[in-house]
C-alpha cells in the first residue's frame, strides 16, 4: 500500500460542459436537474444519438495571439479558462511563483483530432493538406498543452497525459508528485476533450452509443451519450501553518492502476478499479466508511456500470452516497476526470450530493449507495472514479479543508 500523502490545497477550480459554463452554472444545473444532452446534429453524417454539446463554440474566436491554434478543442479550452476568474488566478499564480515554477499537466483523449478530420476533408487533389491546415502545433496529441502554455505564459514542466477516459484524473497524481518532490511550487491541472467524428463513429462502431439520453446504472440502460468539456484547477502545497481558508477544498489522495484485462472492456470483477480505490484510500489515510460521496465513472455502458456497481456495493456502507453525473454532461472522455472532480468539489462545498439523471429503475447490481435523487447532506470526504480504454483506472480523493 502506498504511504499517506500531505494534502494539497485546490485554490481554484472551474469546469464547462453542456450543462453549463463555469462552476456556478453547473451547480445550478445539477440542483435543478437540468441536463445538457440534445439530439445529435454534430457528426458529418447522421447518427441517431444524444450528445452533450457546448453551445456557442462555432461563434467563439480565439485572441489574435492564439489564433494559429484555432480548433474546436482550443476554443473550448479558451472558453473554459475564461470562466470563474480562472485566467486571472492563473496569471496571479505565475507572477507569485515565476513562470518556470508552475507545472502544467493536462489530459485529453483526442486533442484536436477534430481539426485533423476537417483537414482530411479538405485535402487537395494530390492528397496534400491545405496551407491553412499546415499547422503542426494543432495536429498533434500535445496541442492542448502547447495552447494552454501559450495562453497562460507558463515555462515549467508541461505534459499532456492521454490515457483515454482517465486522462484528466491522472493529472492530479502527476502534479502531486512534482509538488511533493519540490520540482514545482504550484501546478495547473486540467483537461479538454471535444466532440468529433472519431469518437462518435468510433464508440458507435463498438456498439456502445445509446440512441437515447444515457441512463447510468439503469436496469435498461442502452449505452453512453458522448459529450465535451473543459476544466482546470490550481494545486498548491499547504501553507506552513497547515491552515487554508475554510472553503478551500483539498486533494487528499489518488490511486492509479491497470486492469491487465482487455483494451476496451473492464475487468469483470473490477479488480483494477478496486486497486485504484485502495491506493486512493491509503494515500488519503482514510477508510471506505469515511467516504460521504462518490462521483462514479458510470458511463451507462452495460459492462462498466455492472462492474462499478458491484465494487461500490461490496466496499462501501449504505451511508455513502454515489451517483453518475453523465446524464447531465454526457461522457466527456479525456475531460471526464477534471469535470467530475469539479462536480465533486461543488458537492463538498454546497453539502449537496447530485443524483443520477435520466435513470428510472436502478440495476439490481446497485447497492443502496447509488442514488437517483439529489440529496442534501454534510459531505466532508468524496471520491471521483475515472476508467479508460486500455484498462486504465484512476480514483481521486478530496476533502473539505475543515475536516482534513
Amino acid at each position: 500500500m502506498p504511504a499517506r500523502i500531505a494534502p494539497l490545497a485546490i485554490t481554484a477550480c472551474t469546469a464547462t460542459c453542456a450543462a453549463g459554463r463555469g462552476s456556478q452554472a453547473i451547480a445550478r444545473a445539477l440542483e435543478t436537474r437540468a441536463g445538457g444532452l440534445i439530439a445529435n446534429s454534430f457528426s458529418t453524417q447522421p447518427l441517431d444519438c444524444r450528445i452533450g454539446r457546448v453551445a456557442g463554440l462555432e461563434q467563439l474566436s480565439l485572441p489574435d495571439a492564439l489564433a494559429s491554434f484555432d480548433s474546436r478543442n482550443h476554443r473550448l479550452a479558451w472558453l473554459g479558462l475564461t470562466q470563474d476568474g480562472f485566467l486571472e488566478r492563473a496569471h496571479a499564480l505565475r507572477e507569485r511563483h515565476g513562470a518556470a515554477r508552475v507545472a502544467l499537466v493536462l489530459g485529453t483523449s483526442t486533442s484536436s483530432i477534430g481539426e485533423t478530420e476537417r483537414a482530411y476533408r479538405e485535402l487537395d487533389a494530390q492528397g496534400r493538406l491545405s496551407s491553412a491546415q499546415s499547422r503542426p502545433q494543432v495536429h498533434q496529441p500535445h496541442a492542448l498543452g502547447l495552447f494552454v502554455a501559450h495562453a497562460l505564459g507558463l515555462a515549467g514542466p508541461n505534459l499532456t497525459i492521454a490515457t483515454a477516459c482517465s486522462s484528466s484524473a491522472k493529472v492530479f497524481a502527476s502534479a502531486e508528485r512534482l509538488l511533493r518532490l519540490g520540482l514545482a511550487d504550484a501546478a495547473i491541472v486540467g483537461g479538454v476533450d471535444t466532440l468529433c467524428d472519431s469518437v462518435l463513429f468510433g464508440f458507435n462502431s463498438l456498439e456502445l452509443v445509446s440512441n437515447e439520453e444515457c441512463r447510468p446504472f439503469d436496469a435498461n440502460r442502452r449505452g453512453l451519450s458522448l459529450g465535451e468539456a473543459a476544466g482546470f484547477a490550481i494545486l498548491e502545497r499547504m501553507p506552513q501553518s497547515g491552515k487554508v481558508e475554510k472553503d478551500t477544498p483539498l486533494l487528499i489522495g489518488y490511486g492509479e492502476s491497470s486492469d491487465a484485462h482487455h483494451m476496451s472492456a473492464p475487468h469483470p470483477q473490477g479488480l483494477g478499479a478496486e486497486r485504484a480505490l485502495d491506493d486512493a484510500l491509503a494515500r488519503a489515510g482514510i477508510s471506505a466508511a469515511q467516504v460521504d460521496y462518490i462521483n462514479l465513472h458510470g458511463t451507462a455502458s452495460r459492462q462498466n456500470d455492472e462492474v462499478e456497481a458491484a465494487l461500490i456495493a461490496r466496499r462501501f456502507p449504505a451511508s455513502t452516497r454515489a451517483s453518475s453525473t453523465k446524464g447531465w454532461s454526457g461522457h466527456t472522455l479525456g475531460a471526464a476526470g477534471i469535470l467530475e472532480a469539479a462536480i465533486t468539489l461543488i458537492a463538498l462545498e454546497r453539502g449537496f450530493a447530485p443524483g443520477t439523471l435520466n435513470t428510472r429503475e436502478l440495476d439490481p447490481a446497485c447497492g443502496p449507495q447509488i442514488r437517483i435523487d439529489n440529496s442534501e447532506a454534510n459531505l466532508r470526504i468524496a471520491l471521483s472514479n475515472s476508467f479508460g480504454f486500455g484498462g486504465n483506472n484512476c480514483c481521486l480523493a478530496f476533502a473539505r479543508a475543515d475536516t482534513a
Binding site: 499547422r135 508541461n158 499532456t160 519540490g182 462502431s205 456498439e207 491497470s258
Partner: protein, 271 residues
Amino acid sequence: MSAALELAIEGIGVCASGMPDWAAARELLRSGSAHTAQPFERPAPASLTPNERRRAPDSVLLALAAAEQACAMAGRAPRDLQNVFASAYGDLAINDYLCAVLAHTPLELSPTKFHNSVHNAPAGYWTIASACMASSTALSAGSATFAAGLLEAATIAASEAKPVLYVAFDIAATGPLAALIDCDAPFAVAFVLAPATAQQIARLRLDLQAHAAAELAPLPPSLHALQARNPAAASLPLLVALAQGETKGFDFALHADKDLPASALHLEISF
C-alpha cells in the same frame, strides 16, 4: 533551485533502424561511426503471441520490443513495474486510417482500429501482455516528449521509491501529416529506473533549471541526422554517455515551443 532526484538505471532497451537492440546500439555509439539507415522490419516482441503480433499496430510492437529489453536487463518482472509510455505523435498510421475513413465512409470505421487509436494503446497492450496491474501512463510533449516522459517516470520512481519502466517511441509519420511532422524513422528507447540499487548500470541525477543552457545536450555530428528524424531520438546524448561509460551532464528543453521561455531538465550521469 529545486531538489535533485537520484536514481539508478537498471536496464536499457533500444529499437531503431540499424540498432535492433541495446547491444547493437552500444556498439555503434561507442565506435563513433556514422549511423546508416537500414530497412526496418516490424519488431517481434516475445510478450505477444504470434497472433497478437500479426494484429498489433506498429507503435505497439516498437514500444514493447524496447520495453522487454530493458526489463530483461534489469532482471525485473514486467508485471511489478509501474510504467510510463511517451510518444510525441501516437500511432500516425492509425491516425491516418481514422481520418481517411471518417472523411468518406465514417460508418465503416473499424472498432479494433478505433480502440487501438488511443494514445495509451501500447501501455494497454503491455499491461495486458505482462499481467501488470500497476499504474500506467501515456503522455506527449511535442519535441520535448523524451524529456517530459523521463521527468514523469523519475518522479514516480522517486516519490514511490519503486522501480519504473520508461519507454519513449515514435513510428514514422504516414499520410498527409507527414509533410508537417519531423518523424520519418521509427525509434524506441526504454529504461528501468529505480531507487539506487546494487545492480545499477549507471546513476542518474535529475533536476530542473529555470533557463535551458544555450547549447542543449551535445551529440557527435555523425548522429545529428538520426536525432532529427524522431522525437524519441532526443535520448541519443544519454545513450552515447551510457555506451561510452562517460560521466556527463547535459540539459534537455522541457518545452516543445521555441516561442516560449524554456526551463530545462538537467541530467547528470555517472558510473
